[in-house]
Symmetry: C2
Subunit: 253 residues, 2 copies
C-alpha cells in the first residue's frame, strides 16, 4: 500500500520529480586493505540484504557529477578517481518481484520502476581515508573482501564481476596508486596486483618490472614487526612523475 507519509514513498516521489527516469548509477568502490581488494557495500534497513552504493541523476546534473556526488556521500572523500566501465542495459536485469519483497520497497506501480538501465562506475580509493556512510535506504556501510561477498540484491554480483574484468584488462593503464597509502612495501604492491588478477605472481619478476618502471623511491626505514626479514618501505617519487598516478604493471606471467 502506498502511504504518502511513508518517508520511503516521499523519497521516491522526490527522486521521481527531480531525477532522470529509467536510469541509475551503480558504483563499485574498490579499496585495498589487509592485502585484499575490497568493495564497499550497503545493508538495507531492517534486512540482511546487501547491495552496491548507487543513485539517480538529477535532471540538470552531468552523469559524471552524479557519480561523484553518490560516491562522495558514501565515502566522505572529495574528488574520487572514478571511471565509467559498462552500461547494464538488459530489459530485465533481475527478478523484480523477489527483489522488492526482500527489501520491502513500496515502489511497485511507480511508472519507471519496471526498468532501470544502470551506468557502472568504479572508484579507486585509499581505504584508510574512507568513512563508510549508509544512505537513506540503508543502515550499514562496510568493506567486503572479494572472496566474502554474499549474494547481493539486483544484479550487483554481476556488476562487480564486470568491474573486476575491467580492472584486469586495464591493469597496465590503471592508476593503481589511488588504492595505496603514501608508504608501502613491494610485497604489498605485488599483493595488490595479485588480488586484482586473482592469481599469484612470481616475486622476482614482479620486483624487476616495478624497478624498471623507475617510479618508486626507497626510504631508509623498513617495515617493522614482520615475521620475516623486514622489507623496505617505498613511496612514489616526488617531482614531475608524481603528478601522474602510477599505473599498474601489465603483467603477463
Amino acid at each position: 500500500m502506498m502511504d504518502s507519509k511513508d518517508p520511503v514513498v516521499q523519497y521516491y516521489q522526490e527522486v521521481s520529480e527531480q531525477c532522470i527516469h529509467y536510469l541509475s548509477i551503480d558504483g563499485v568502490i574498490f579499496g585495498f586493505h589487509q592485502n585484499q581488494l575490497k568493495v564497499l557495500l550497503l545493508r538495507w534497513k531492517g534486512t540482511n540484504e546487501w547491495s552496491l552504493p548507487g543513485g539517480f541523476i538529477r535532471k540538470a546534473e552531468s552523469v559524471d557529477k552524479a557519480a561523484q556526488r553518490i560516491m562522495q556521500e558514501r565515502t566522505g572523500l572529495q574528488e574520487l578517481y572514478l571511471r565509467q566501465f559498462h552500461v547494464f542495459g538488459e530489459a530485465l536485469r533481475y527478478d523484480q518481484e523477489a527483489t522488492w519483497q526482500k527489501i520491502n520497497l513500496p515502489i511497485k506501480g511507480v511508472n519507471w520502476s519496471e526498468r532501470t538501465i544502470s551506468l557502472g562506475y568504479y572508484a579507486l580509493v585509499e581505504h584508510s581515508k574512507v568513512v563508510p556512510t549508509p544512505d537513506f535506504l540503508t543502515e550499514e556501510c562496510r568493506w567486503w573482501s572479494l572472496e566474502e561477498i554474499p549474494a547481493l540484491l539486483f544484479d550487483h554480483n554481476h556488476i562487480i564481476e564486470v568491474a573486476l574484468q575491467s580492472l584486469r584488462s586495464q591493469l597496465g593503464d590503471l592508476p593503481i596508486s589511488h588504492l595505496l597509502p603514501d608508504i608501502f612495501t613491494i610485497p604489498e604492491l605485488q599483493r595488490l596486483h595479485e588480488t586484482i588478477l586473482g592469481h599469484p605472481l612470481d616475486a622476482r619478476n614482479f620486483y624487476k618490472k616495478v624497478m624498471a618502471s623507475n617510479v618508486l623511491q626507497r626510504l631508509s626505514e623498513r617495515r617493522a614487526g614482520t615475521p620475516h626479514k623486514a622489507p623496505y618501505l617505498y613511496r612514489f617519487r616526488t617531482g614531475s612523475t608524481s603528478a601522474e598516478p602510477y599505473s599498474g604493471i601489465d603483467y603477463v606471467d
Copy 2:
C-alpha cells in the same frame, strides 16, 4: 509552431510514447576502404548538415539490441560487431538553440528535449557489405574518411574523437578482422593499423609482428595491377583460430 499532422512531429510523439526519455544511442560505424578508415554519416533532410546515425531505446528493449537495430537499419547488415565505448552525460552537450535551427526540428517544448544522455557504441564493419541507408529524418547516408569529416551536428565530432581514442587504446584487443575483406595484402593490413593510429609504421617491424602472430595464411596468388612488385594475398587461417576474430597488433613503434 507544432503542427500535429507534421510527420516529424508525429515521429517525435511516437518516440516520446514508445522510448525511454533523456537517453539516446549514437553509433560510430567504422569501415576500411581505399586504405582509409571511414565513418558512416547522415545528411539531414533539406539541409547540408551531417551527423552520426543514432536513435532511441524502446521501453522494453535492451540497450544492446537497440544499438543493433539502429546500426542494422543504416547498414543493411545483420549481427554487427558493436562495442559500447563511452557515455556522453554532460548536462549541456552542445548549443541546442543553434542546433534546432540548423535542422529545423520542431521539438522545442518536448519535455525531455532539453537534455539527452548518449550511449556511444562503435561498430566495425566490412565496407563492401554495407548498403548505406538514411533514416526517417535524413536523406543521404555515406562514408567519410576521417580527414574529410565536416563540422557535425550536436557534439558528434567529439564523439568520433572519443571512439577513435578507444580504438587506439584497444588496438591490441580489437577484432580488426571485422573491418577487412576475406582477402587482403600485408600493406593493406598495415595501412589499417596506421589509419587507426594516425601515424605511419615501420613496414619491416609490422611484417615481423604479423607473421609472429601466426594467424594469416598466404595464398598462391598476388595482387594484380599494382605499380610496384605485386604483393602476396592473405586470408585468416581456417580451423580453430578462425572462430576468434583476429585482433590488431598492439603497436608501440
